[in-house]
């Protein structure tokens, strides 16, 4: 049995006094590939923000263990350094900060290194080719003026660079054309190994054609209501969230 990386038990979380997560359970082991699906507003992005430690969210009940430690007590940067990564659905723009200098700071912080710019540029050049990101982006300001697709690609690049134990990918395929989705599939596939875990949040079952998940979860109203294999995603795709849930006797918002 593989080691448990992340264990979420009965998680309740709220933002601005509104509870979004109502008792969520999820366990992710080392090397597993999980997919989280669910209708808009079901709390998927809230879950990813809470896991990464966003200060606007308040955990009101439940526990989250990371390799046996209390994740909720860790600051966002400590979570990142412990091997957790979140690919943002809406990555932020940071004007005036070069991609290369940002990534160097991030890499050195996460890897606890002090790599020089010269050596880092070499490394980054390789990683950019893996992520399919043109080298010209190196000296652009972080996410400033990037298209939606370019921002997503930049998130993937950061994942490739930081080599997290668990990568939470919050709709990395939204707003991207088919070729770009294929590209992301290719990168994820290339990264899969027995130590690397994924939690992929998506509405797009097509991405599952190229990445075979170990588990698919359906999230409704702040909790996981059904878990299964890839066949669950196929059925959701065929029937749609509403029909699928009706047929299963699940409550809809």
């Amino acid at each position: 049995m593989r080691k448990v990386l992340l264990a979420i038990k009965g998680l309740h979380a709220r933002v601005q006094n509104q509870e979004i997560l109502h008792g969520l359970d999820l366990e992710i082991r080392s090397g597993e590939f999980h997919v989280l699906m669910g209708p808009n507003g079901s709390g998927k992005s809230t879950l990813s923000s809470v896991l990464m430690g966003h200060t606007s969210y308040e955990v009101s009940a439940g526990a989250v263990q990371w390799e046996g430690k209390n994740l909720l007590k860790m600051k966002p940067e400590e979570r990142a350094r412990a091997g957790l990564f979140l690919s943002f659905q809406h990555p932020r723009e940071i004007p005036g900060v070069n991609l290369v200098s940002f990534l160097k700071s991030s890499y050195n912080a996460v890897k606890k290194l002090n790599m020089s710019l010269f050596h880092f540029k070499k490394l980054l050049t390789d990683k950019m080719s893996v992520a399919g990101m043109p080298l010209g982006f190196m000296n652009r300001y972080l996410n400033v003026g990037f298209s939606g697709g370019e921002k997503k690609k930049c998130e993937i690049l950061q994942m490739v660079l930081l080599e997290p134990k668990l990568a939470i990918l919050d709709e990395p395929d939204s707003g991207m054309d088919l070729d770009a989705v294929k590209d992301i599939c290719r990168v994820i596939k290339a990264l899969r190994n027995p130590k690397q875990s994924f939690l992929l949040i998506t509405h797009n079952p097509r991405i599952l054609d190229c990445v075979l998940p170990d588990y698919v979860h359906l999230m409704v109203e702040g909790k996981i209501v059904k878990s299964g294999g890839v066949e669950l995603a196929k059925r959701i795709e065929k029937e749609g969230y509403v029909n699928f849930m009706k047929a299963k006797g699940l409550k809809i918002l």
């Binding site: 990142a80 940071i94 005036g96």
Partner: protein
């Protein structure tokens, strides 16, 4: 007792005793006709300058304090010293070896000699009122470039100085211009003859060292037809309890097709009132570039001004201001388009933190007849916490229809989402904040000379 008692004693000291000076004698506190006359006498100035000083003193008494900007009521003109000099600073040192050790140490701490050796074409440094060190690389001297202490320039080139002195900033402009005219001392005179293009930057470092002292250095820069130069000024004062005043004046004359860049980083101590006046008059097809960093002083009022007088003249203003605890930075750019086809760009970034107040107070004026002129002005404020304030007060006066004006002003708080994004990549909260702040001012810092960019980054490190 004479107002300037240091003169007597210093003349009796041998050069040897200069090696370990500890004691500084100071001029008397307060302002009067006698003090002004004593300053002029001590410098053996021509009569016209003495008369000019006295006229300025009259104006100073008549003109009221500015009706806008930060509160200056705590500034007591009677408690200030208007002229002081370290007693060992007898005259003027041209060789680094001749500069007294205590002064050298100060400069060495500031990295001046290294900078001079490696990058700079010449360096002048004002230690209190007399220039301690002033030198210009021989090559430029041979081409007719003059880079001198202002007091010396008045002796060596009286006609040239008279032609420009306070012609760009007339003493009746405001109270502190009048005060400056009465008690000015030292500063830089830079004259670049026709067609001479100085590649390396010229540098001066002003430093206020005597407690409760006013610093009133006067700089005149003349860049003749088709010539170009870059002048860098750094200003600082160590911390003392008594209040200090800096009311310097910079006048720049950019002749047709000439190009001038003036960079300054002002980092006076908190008890300093920095009320400085800087102005450039730009003739046909001339270019003026101002690069300013304002970090220090309790109260700053500083509005570098470009008057675009000739057809096709151009001005660029880049500025960064940081207002921390107990600081008010009231800064801005003034551009006056007084001729057709003139162009200006203003980019200002101000940061307020720990209760500081940063105000952008700018003026963009297009005179009637300045057809086909273009102006773009952008001022951004970033507020780092709830105790701090940022304001933008831009004034636009456009009296000509056929012009293109772009104007943007923003004041914003640091974004939680940006902080979270960076922290999720392993950066601590402090590192993330510093990265966002650095990014905010990056467009201006990029325009700064390297050693100041490094200094600026160090100073804003939170």
């Amino acid at each position: 007792m004479p107002a300037l008692d240091y003169l007597k004693s210093s003349s009796q000291r041998s050069l040897k005793s200069v090696r370990s000076p500890k004691r500084f004698k100071r001029a008397k506190k307060g302002l009067s006709k006698e003090v002004v006359l004593a300053i002029s006498r001590s410098k053996k100035e021509p009569q016209w300058m003495t008369d000019f000083r006295l006229e300025c003193l009259d104006l100073f008494y008549k003109i009221p304090l500015p009706s806008f900007g930060p509160d200056l009521s705590a500034l007591d003109f009677d408690e200030l010293i208007y002229y002081a000099s370290p007693e060992e600073m007898k005259g003027y040192a041209t060789r680094w070896e001749d500069v007294p050790d205590s002064v050298k140490e100060t400069f060495e701490r500031l990295g001046i000699p290294q900078a001079e050796r490696e990058v700079l074409a010449g360096a002048g440094a004002q230690y209190d009122s007399l220039n301690a060190y002033h030198k210009l690389k021989e090559t430029w001297g041979k081409m007719g470039v003059i880079f001198e202490d202002m007091d010396q320039a008045l002796k060596h080139y009286p006609e040239l100085v008279k032609k420009y002195f306070m012609k760009g900033v007339p003493p009746r402009d405001h109270k502190f211009a009048a005060l400056h005219g009465a008690v000015w001392s030292g500063g830089t005179f830079l004259y670049v003859p026709k067609g001479v293009q100085i590649k390396d930057p010229l540098q001066a470092y002003f430093r206020m060292n005597t407690k409760a002292m006013g610093q009133f250095e006067h700089s005149v820069i003349v860049v003749e037809d088709g010539a170009s130069a870059h002048y860098i000024e750094g200003c600082s004062a160590p911390k003392y309890n008594a209040t200090s005043l800096h009311a310097g004046c910079v006048e720049i004359f950019v002749k047709p097709h000439a190009k001038m860049r003036y960079s300054s980083v002002e980092n006076w101590s908190l008890n300093t009132y920095n009320l400085n006046t800087k102005r450039a008059i730009v003739e046909e097809e001339g270019t003026m570039e101002w690069v300013s960093g304002n970090l220090g002083s309790g109260r700053t009022m500083l509005y570098p001004c470009s008057i675009l007088k000739g057809r096709g003249a151009r001005a660029d203003h880049w500025g960064v201001a940081i207002a921390g605890k107990d600081q008010v930075q009231d800064i801005g750019s003034k551009v006056i388009h007084a001729a057709p086809e003139t162009t200006s760009t203003v980019l200002s970034k101000s940061i307020s933190k720990q209760g500081g107040v940063a105000v952008y107070r700018g003026l963009l004026q297009v005179n009637k007849g300045a057809k086909n002129s273009k102006a773009s002005m952008r001022c951004d404020g970033l507020i780092l916490d709830n105790q701090s304030r940022g304001d933008t007060i831009p004034t636009l006066r456009v009296n000509e229809k056929n012009v293109s004006i772009a104007h943007e002003a923003t004041v914003g708080k640091i974004s939680e989402e940006q902080l979270f994004y960076l922290r999720s990549r392993g950066l601590s909260e402090e590192e993330a904040l510093a990265m966002i702040v650095n990014g905010f001012i990056e467009p201006v810092v990029r325009a700064l000379p390297l050693e100041y960019a490094v200094e600026m980054n160090r100073l804003i490190a939170l």
